[in-house]
Symmetry: C2
Subunit: 298 residues, 2 copies
Amino acid sequence: MTYCVGLCLKDGLVFLSDTRTNAGVDQIGTFRKMSLFQNKDRFFTLLSAGNLAITQSVKEILLQGQLFKGKNLWTAKNSYEAAVVVGDAIKQVYAQDHLALEKAGIDFNCNMIFGGQVKGEKPRLFNIYSAGNFIEATPETCYFQIGESKYGKPILDRVLNFNTPLNLATKCALISMDSTLKSNISVGLPLDMLVYEKNSLKATKLVTLDDANPYFAMIHQAWGEKLREAFNSIAEPSWSGAHKSSDISTPAKKMGMVPIIHPPSKAKSPRVTPITKTTPAKKIAKKVAPKKVTVKKK
Amino acid sequence: MTYCVGLCLKDGLVFLSDTRTNAGVDQIGTFRKMSLFQNKDRFFTLLSAGNLAITQSVKEILLQGQLFKGKNLWTAKNSYEAAVVVGDAIKQVYAQDHLALEKAGIDFNCNMIFGGQVKGEKPRLFNIYSAGNFIEATPETCYFQIGESKYGKPILDRVLNFNTPLNLATKCALISMDSTLKSNISVGLPLDMLVYEKNSLKATKLVTLDDANPYFAMIHQAWGEKLREAFNSIAEPSWSGAHKSSDISTPAKKMGMVPIIHPPSKAKSPRVTPITKTTPAKKIAKKVAPKKVTVKKK
């Protein structure tokens, strides 16, 4: 699998990708998923996920500068036109391979994050699908993920917004990647990271990180510790209702508790003890943890 | 979708499930995914994910106490036999429905977490698959998730182990659920939560939580804040190499940086600037952030 994330922020763009590929657990490989295209008046980054044979073909077409309706990445007037070129390259690979893939029972699977800047425009970021169509990031939804995206989504949702400075966003992307690496072995080091500063039209901050990178090693260790500290600093639930702020025994308003099923008596239908929503919380609490209530009375 | 998690720990079992079901975004429903079975000598919890028509049928078969090779949940000698009964119920629903489902192009999708205790045995936890086969939790791998499991996995991987006390594990399960709720709208409140204390043979701590539950509301607010605090407390990356502990510019050992593709000159093949792994880190750093280096010299 793969994990790639692209951020489109006020001050520029951040791209991060892993390099692990796999076709079953016994065919693990290392392939780059980041490609960079630069000329005087433009800078583009492409991150790819999906079937490697497809994504490599797409990349090769772009690299060769093939024209689609007279356009390629070097001649597109703006980032939108460049995204259309990438989409057209995907459509060409589809036309070439999809019948054979269908016969082999393989999905045409190809997801890309494409972003950059053409002089005179602001930086832009696109999520391009297998069909070659795409959506663009906005200040409200300023990031895209492809591949194994779920493990690393919560941290992005918690701390990231359009105004996040690039250096903080870099940290956020790396934590998102670290969470993914920890929970999914199909995503692996090294990582390719690019921080693109608005209007620079070049790869201002580009690095390939492995486990010996001081910053990533620090993130890897510190984030786990900080997370455990944060976890420990939150109060434990109080089942007795003794601590109001951490009382977990308050029943829901619109739904009673889970009924308990007892064995059917004498081959009749099973006996169910419904606990209705009108059961007072205190009564349940007492029933549940009588010892704690006693302690409280002291 | 669904998110359910079951933990098998030294002191007992923890179960947590959401109640949202959906068949497309315009068919959202609320159904319980937790069922409880209790008799004098046994206590079982079943959490279910997948096709609701399938999981409800399985539950009904268990509720009716139907015998499989002379056994049901009430007569199984131990938790393993009880898990076999649940598996047999799934196989029966499969036999009944799979042809019709296949014709409709619908997968036979049914995943269950089943756990509990039979007097004389320790508490046990199983993950039962669509085929009715299952695996059991061990001290090394002490939790199972079903449904939308990825968002909530990182926190479990970071803080949970077999010796975690039940009250801490309860907090951990709720944070795992909160992360899932925040990032995926197909998982929703209320939540059914059961903390089963070893050898109690009953639902000692059982509650249904909605957004008015003081503890869950606190978790929901505090976790986001603590996470942001933890995030802010980690150093930002240093691209200049000025701060060794947070130096992000150190190149990887076995892989050079991403090459930058330039446009082909005079219709020849595209020009690629490879940045080899031998490029010294300091040289890159200086090129990247000259201002910061200047400041340091002052």
